[in-house]
């Protein structure tokens, strides 16, 4: 069975005082549509964007993105 990259960004946003997609997008330097696509697992971000998201939530990368 092939593995798939999933993430917890949606949950982390809500735990961060219900941060909006636009707010997160502005902080990591992408568009709101990109955050929307990442959350739906339709787009895998670059390592740079992944680290920026990780820094934003102050959570290790492997707790945000799961390859399983």
């Amino acid at each position: 069975m092939s593995k798939k990259l999933t993430n917890n960004i949606r949950r982390l946003r809500f735990e961060s005082e219900e941060m909006s997609q636009q707010n997160l997008a502005d902080k990591v330097g992408v568009t709101r549509q990109t955050i929307f696509e990442i959350e739906k697992n339709k787009y895998s971000p670059s390592l740079e964007v992944a680290f920026k998201i990780s820094n934003e939530f102050k959570v290790p990368l492997e707790e945000i993105f799961i390859y399983d």
């Binding site: 330097g29 568009t31 549509q33 990109t34 929307f36 339709k42 787009y43």
Partner: protein
């Protein structure tokens, strides 16, 4: 989900290209202006291109004023994948034209192209360029909606 800034941008570019070049090719091909008697100059082809540039500047500046969104890595990826599709359309068109022009035979396109003026062939080439650009816009819109 509504249209993003980039999608609005693409729809505007697609609309302008279809409108200006649709009108241009309709004039050129339906009125049979491509005869040896009608001398086509480079200015004839330049006119719709200038019109597109002017319309693009007006519409894009209007859209940019309303949006603060920027390009990002996903946009760049979509653009690169779409250019590849446009390149395929252009390649098919150019190879089709080359084969038809060099093919020793008779009937169909061979007869049309054998008797065609250089203007007609130039306009066919231009048509393939425009089709490639339209493919690029449509696939970009598709990838922005459905994911890449």
């Amino acid at each position: 989900m509504g249209f993003s800034y980039k999608e609005k941008n693409l729809i505007a570019s697609l609309g302008i290209t279809l409108l200006v070049f649709g009108w241009y090719f309709y004039q050129v091909f339906s009125n049979q202006m491509l005869t040896l008697e009608h001398e086509f100059t480079f200015n004839d082809i330049l006119r719709p291109i200038i019109l597109i540039v002017v319309l693009e500047i007006i519409i894009q500046s209007f859209l940019a004023g309303k949006n603060k969104n920027k390009e990002d890595e996903r946009g760049a990826l979509i653009e690169s994948a779409s250019y590849k599709n446009g390149y395929w359309v252009l390649s098919i068109g150019v190879w089709f034209l080359l084969i038809q022009l060099l093919y020793i035979g008779s009937g169909g396109w061979y007869d049309i192209l054998k008797n065609a003026s250089p203007s007609f062939i130039s306009h066919l080439l231009l048509l393939f360029f425009v089709l490639a650009e339209v493919t690029n816009f449509i696939t970009q819109l598709y990838y922005h909606r459905k994911g890449v």
